[in-house]
């Protein structure tokens, strides 16, 4: 059924092989922590990396607004790219000015959006 895509499957298998190996070899080759070794060193070894003043920020904390802005803008412009690809592919073969006008209009509208967002300062990272 997936005859034509066999190479992809082969690569996938190889990838999983290599990835899995790298992930698990340490368990096999590396030194083990002795069961029952409750010494403070073993316990503390498991603490996540800390440096500087201890701070009570838990794992999940809030991000700057720019992260959310970038995410939203990414969606907007990525959809633009996704819409442009099919037209781009057939543009050469259709060779019609109408398609060109459509593409230019579409990109121009999104360019207006970019200008609006740019001037409103959503792009500079705060």
């Amino acid at each position: 059924m997936l005859h034509q895509y066999l190479p992809v499957l082969v690569f996938a298998a190889l990838g999983i092989l290599v990835g899995g190996a790298f992930a698990t070899l340490n368990l096999v080759l590396g030194p083990k922590r002795l069961k029952g070794d409750e010494s403070s060193a073993a316990i503390r070894q498991m603490d996540p990396y800390e440096c500087g003043l201890p701070s009570e920020i838990s794992k999940t904390f809030r991000f700057g607004v720019s992260f959310y802005l970038v995410a939203m803008l990414f969606i907007l412009f990525d959809i633009e790219v996704v819409f442009l690809y099919p037209v781009g592919a057939i543009l050469k073969s259709t060779d019609s000015v109408f398609v060109l006008a459509e593409v230019v209009l579409f990109v121009a509208l999104l360019f207006v959006a970019l200008i609006y967002v740019w001037r409103k300062g959503a792009l500079d990272w705060r």
């Binding site: 997936l2 034509q4 190996a21 990396y49 990414f74 790219v81 442009l84 543009l91 593409v103 360019f111």
Partner: protein
């Protein structure tokens, strides 16, 4: 009737050779690339040394050739541990995910045309470029999962930052390749290379090429854009809590990704396997161009200072994106007018 996977029709590939040939050629490609990566590792450290007027590693084996083996050996012997706050399963598979997606992208790199009944490439999918984008965003998942699952705030913030950087540059890369697709009139990589018969697309699409390369640096977190896991900043970014070969696999994936980006760049802009000499030499030309571009990667690492994060983001949005959009517009007009 196209094949159905989970009910969704799959595009037929342009050329199907015998089953065993497919398996063999995939293995050959994988082995060649797998061997290239340690060489690249070493090459980078040697070249950096040379740039800084010092020798690179030359203690282990002749000219330091044994160095990569030594590194891998060292990493493998580390203790596999998991930090307290980590999410067990996701913590392990994150590095593997980046490797799997990097390896899968190899399938579409064309190393030559169909000679006899063997296509010198994994598969020639009519939606070539989109395949590349698809799997490069899966790598993005691996990276993000790694940062979040390891439970420490440093790695989480590092992951978020690199994620933001990645998605900002992905758009510019997408637009830059669009110019080439418009000129070639098809998405499949093999057709694009064939379309570069008389002139390589690097000439008309110089802007696209430069944007793609800069995007490539950002995509692989390479030096000018490697702020998220730069030592001075967030220790090792998303890789802070990883040790041993898991940390190694992140490195491995990064180098693999570098090779792929230069491979795609050479296919799209530098005429892929096109070069003087008999068709037999095609894969050699392709590998040569990939290595030249990789060296360019390393060269940039040695020269350019690191971007500050807000400069990095505004560069992506305010310069690359408008430039790429204009490039697309100009190409579209030229393609239709001429």
């Amino acid at each position: 009737m196209p094949d159905l996977v989970l009910g969704l029709p799959l595009a037929d590939t342009n050329f199907v050779d015998a089953t065993w040939i497919m398996i063999v050629k995939s293995l050959v490609i994988f082995i060649v690339i797998l061997s290239l990566v340690p060489l690249l590792l070493l090459g980078e450290r040697k070249l950096l040394g040379r740039f800084q007027q010092r020798y690179g590693p030359n203690r282990v084996g002749p000219y330091g050739l044994g160095q990569p083996l030594a590194d891998v050996g060292k990493l493998l012997s580390k203790q596999a541990f998991r930090p307290k706050g980590a999410v067990p399963f996701l913590y392990e598979i994150a590095p593997a995910l980046t490797i799997i997606s990097a390896v899968l992208t190899l399938a579409i790199l064309p190393f030559g045309d169909v000679q006899g009944d063997v296509g010198f490439y994994g598969i020639d999918v009519p939606i070539g470029i989109l395949y590349f984008f698809a799997f490069s965003s899966i790598a993005f998942y691996g990276l993000l999962l790694g940062g979040w699952a390891s439970g420490s705030k440093y790695s989480f913030l590092g992951a978020m930052r690199s994620a933001a950087q990645l998605i900002s540059y992905e758009i510019a890369m997408g637009l830059s390749l669009l110019g080439v697709v418009m000129m070639a009139g098809s998405l499949s990589l093999v057709d694009i290379v064939k379309a570069q018969g008389e002139v390589w697309y690097v000439v008309p699409q110089i802007v696209g090429f430069l944007i793609f390369l800069v995007g490539g640096f950002a995509e692989t977190n390479r030096p000018p854009f490697d702020l998220p896991e730069a030592d001075a900043e967030l220790v090792a970014g998303y890789g802070t809590e990883y040790g041993g070969m898991r940390f190694g696999s992140f490195m491995f994936a990064e180098y693999m990704e570098m090779l792929i980006v230069s491979g795609i760049a050479s296919t799209m802009f530098l005429g892929g396997w096109m070069g003087p000499g008999p068709p037999g030499l095609d894969p050699v030309w392709m590998l040569l161009k990939m290595i030249v571009l990789t060296i360019f990667f390393i060269w940039i690492r040695a020269t350019l200072p690191r971007f500050r994060y807000d400069q990095l983001m505004s560069f992506g949005w305010k310069i690359l994106l408008p430039l790429a959009t204009l490039n697309v517009l100009v190409t579209a007009v030229l393609v239709v007018v001429t």
